[in-house]
């Protein structure tokens, strides 16, 4: 139930982003709203919920992206696994620290894309794009994570626990 609401919220946010992006001419930065969702579910909830979140948000994101098959799910699952690795090792005491971690994970995701393209196809065509967008994406993912963290914490503590 709880995980369902979290995943649906994430999907709604991604749908809104896709729709709004076709209106606003934003090219330099496109924040990845799924990263704060996956990290929150992995770090503050049960591991199974984190895994389900990573899989379904990745699958949905791939549905509205021109990315090669499997690539987004690969990166999202890697984000989940790394989050599981750091779970208990880092102490997230504020939304700002959470946003910093989200920014770092966005950079990690870009590195994974580079790794995927070099390893499997040996194509360098997209490598410059990935490098160019990595930092702006990381910064803006981190920025929006502040608000998403507040939203998810509110949902987790007030709405869902009462229910």
């Amino acid at each position: 139930m709880k995980i369902g609401i979290f995943i649906i919220s994430g999907i709604c946010l991604l749908l809104l982003e896709s729709s709004v992006l076709s209106w606003f001419s934003i090219e330099l930065f496109k924040p990845d709203f799924s990263i704060p969702f996956i990290l929150y579910m992995s770090l503050f909830m049960e591991p199974l919920q984190g895994l389900l979140g990573a899989f379904f948000l990745g699958l949905f994101q791939e549905g509205v992206s021109g990315s090669p098959h499997g690539s987004i799910i690969f990166t999202k699952l890697s984000v989940f696994l790394l989050a599981m690795f750091i779970k208990g090792k880092v102490y997230i005491d504020s939304k700002f620290y959470f946003s910093y971690i989200c920014g770092c994970f966005s950079l990690f995701e870009s590195t994974l894309y580079l790794f995927l393209f070099f390893l499997s196809k040996g194509e360098t065509g997209n490598a410059l794009n990935i490098l160019f967008y990595a930092i702006p994406n990381g910064v803006f993912t981190g920025f929006f994570s502040i608000f998403i963290f507040s939203l998810l914490t509110y949902m987790n503590s007030k709405i869902l626990l009462k229910g």
């Binding site: 076709s22 001419s25 330099l28 992206s65």
Partner: protein, 267 residues
């Protein structure tokens, strides 16, 4: 113990997604089925979300127009002076008009071969360039169908859902089109760079090509019909080492500002 099972499951899923990415046939087939099922819900949801966004857009544009009326009035007075200069451009516009009419004529002659669609979404990742349109399999769309506007080529349909489709735009690094230089015998491949410009590949340094030349589809790639406008040559570098020149092309369509498109149905 429970955590170990979850970690093992996620590693297996990670392996599965990697095998899908590398194109191992049985895994790709299985994954395509899962993705198609999820994809069937994506289109209607995106249309639903797009409705209020579209109304907000109309409201926002109307408000901006109202605020801008006074300033626009002053600007219009200045523009009257410029009109005489603009008259000189009429000849050029007439040519463009003829070209656009020819495209519209194609549609009027073959309405059953064209489908009009609205853009309802855009790629969530800026590493890839794709748009999502509100027509799909139900409207007779298939993969690799050309997507155009009266200005020229936008891209090609790559994934088709029941009521929506993904269009890979020209600017994507995976996109390439066989093109001719209009009125000349020069031919090359226009490839996406991921940025706003395209690269025109395999143009010899002594090929007949100049700044401002228009590129049209050659029809030899088996996807795009012959004669559709693609873009304009904006930069030529003949000094670089090798036998080929480096040519930059600005596409006629800015996919970020495209609201409606036409899809040419294959015969």
């Amino acid at each position: 113990m429970k955590n170990s099972i979850i970690i093992i499951t996620s590693v297996l899923l990670l392996l599965f997604s990697f095998l899908v990415f590398t194109g191992v046939s049985p895994f790709v087939k299985g994954y395509s089925k899962i993705k198609a099922t999820v994809g069937e819900t994506t289109g209607p949801l995106l249309k639903l979300v797009d409705l209020p966004v579209r109304y907000i857009k109309i409201f926002f544009n109307s408000y901006i127009n109202l605020v801008g009326v006074k300033r626009e009035n002053e600007e219009l007075k200045k523009k009257i002076d410029q009109l005489e200069l603009e008259n000189q451009k009429l000849v050029e516009l007439e040519k463009e008009n003829t070209r656009l009419k020819s495209i519209l004529n194609i549609m009027n002659k073959n309405p059953q071969k064209m489908v009009a669609a609205n853009v309802i979404g855009e790629d969530l990742k800026n590493l890839f360039k794709c748009i999502i349109i509100d027509k799909g399999r139900d409207s007779g769309l298939k993969e690799r169908m050309p997507v155009i506007t009266p200005r020229g080529v936008v891209g090609q349909a790559v994934e088709i859902g029941r009521g929506h489709a993904k269009v890979l735009v020209l600017n994507d690094t995976n996109s390439s089109i066989d093109v001719y230089v209009e009125g000349k015998n020069t031919r090359g491949i226009a490839e996406g760079t991921g940025g706003s410009k395209l690269k025109l590949k395999y143009i010899l340094k002594n090929d007949d090509l100049a700044l401002g030349d228009k590129l049209i589809t050659s029809g030899k790639d088996g996807i795009f019909p012959k004669g559709l406008p693609v873009g304009m040559v904006v930069e030529i570098d003949r000094k670089k080492p090798g036998i080929f020149a480096e040519v930059d092309v600005m596409p006629f369509n800015n996919y970020k500002r495209v609201d409606e498109v036409l899809i040419i149905k294959r015969q």
